[in-house]
């Protein structure tokens, strides 16, 4: 009896419809109820990442430790003095600039009539001013992104990188200390012209003693991710240079 019933076409179709309805409702319900918490987590993560780049973190030997989520809100308002949105020649202050979605801005910028919004964060730590620039690029498998904190002389104070799905143990290491720490002290300018920082193989400087060569030792076995980081810095940091130069001359 049972076998006959489940073999029928009408039963199969009804079962499929019922299953889709139940599953759809369940997932929609779960997604909607959890959404506020997830958005909040993402928001705090961005703040943690920005602060990390300018050296406000709980780092100990060898590991990446962010400011705890319970404090990140107050620390963010303490250290980040100004959030700017640069659009063409004008810059406006916007306290939600850190929520600007770089991916969407990049897509919109394809339209020649649209001037891209560039968020810039101005932080202050121990009397020093830092400019923190957000970046977004492509790794081997998926998106990579990050923040670079530079001082008035265009020397890198710190960086933060992350990725969506680079290979564990290889490209995924861009968010590890041994890679990110190498950027500290590197210059992104040479004689007033933008050079960026290249992540290159075999530059005979694995511990990165040479801070004037605009080069970082690449990740073993992750050439495409390394190239992605180089390209991301070239593409995104460059857009800020004219504005930063103007800011410095004031």
């Amino acid at each position: 009896m049972m076998e006959n019933r489940t073999e029928k076409n009408s039963y199969t179709i009804l079962f499929a419809i019922g299953m889709v309805l139940i599953v759809g409702a369940l997932l929609a319900y779960a997604s909607e109820t959890l959404k506020p918490k997830i958005t909040e987590n993402k928001r705090m993560e961005i703040q943690q990442n920005i602060l990390y780049a300018m050296g406000v973190n709980d780092n100990e030997e060898g590991s990446v430790n962010f400011i705890p989520t319970s404090e990140v809100g107050s620390m963010f308002s303490k250290y980040i003095k100004k959030q700017l949105v640069i659009q063409g020649d004008t810059a406006t202050e916007d306290d939600n600039a850190y929520l600007i979605d770089l991916k969407k801005e990049e897509a919109k910028a394809a339209d020649p009539n649209y001037t891209r919004k560039l968020p810039l964060f101005i932080g202050e730590k121990d009397g020093q001013t830092y400019y923190i620039i957000p970046m977004r690029g492509k790794g081997l498998w998926d998106a990579i992104w990050g923040y670079m904190a530079i001082d008035k002389d265009f020397i890198v104070d710190g960086v933060f990188f992350d990725h969506k799905g680079e290979t564990p143990g290889l490209g995924a290491n861009i968010n590890q200390r041994f890679f990110m720490d190498d950027f500290k002290g590197e210059k992104i300018m040479e004689d007033g012209a933008f050079t960026g920082i290249s992540v290159v193989k075999g530059n005979n400087d694995p511990t990165n003693e040479d801070k004037d060569d605009h080069e970082i030792d690449a990740l073993a076995g992750a050439t495409i991710t390394s190239n992605g980081v180089t390209a991301m810095i070239k593409k995104d940091v460059d857009m800020y240079i004219p504005f930063l130069k103007k800011l410095n001359n004031k």
């Binding site: 489940t6 599953v23 779960a30 959890l34 987590n41």
Partner: protein, 215 residues
Amino acid sequence: MGLLSRKDSKLLLDPLADNNPITIQVLGICSALAITAQLKAAIVMAISVTAVVAIGNVVISLMRNIIPPKIRIIVQLVVVAVLVILVDLILKAYSYQLSKTLSVFVGLIITNCIIMGRFEAFALANGPWRSFLDGIGNGAGYGLILVIVGFFRELLGSGTLLGFKVLGDPIAKTGLYALGYENNGFMLLSPMALIVVGIIIWVQRSRNRALIEDH
């Protein structure tokens, strides 16, 4: 095992060795290659798959009499997908850091052949309790191989275990590296995972000749 009957404990223990999903059933090879460059990733993946295959097995087993045979594969896929998406959402809301580590694996879990293989081969024909044990057993058997492969790949490829520099510092030339030892970068690439799995299969079959197929 006083808690389980002899037959039930066989369900749990067989997949660890003589009916191992990777080395004997040859299921789940794809993810074994993809994520064993680091021991930590392998452990996380092992736990995730065990949880999903055990819970999924129970769900499928409970539904086994009402699933229309014509669309059973689709039903199985839907069950795995729902479970994985739910786990992902809950982690994102309540354990954001962990969910970031796991996000890479979410897609891999859904496509893991072990899960579909156990649904099809076992849960559709057995009760929920036995299906649950089968799920735990197969997940653990899969995890065991993953951890073994991950152990050797991370140790020989990066000189670390769970991120700790157990062989010394390759840049500062301390520990083993002071003697001229070098990490084998090839271990980090996927083909080496296949070779390590091959060696495990070889060792296992040479110790238990009954496992060797007749050709």
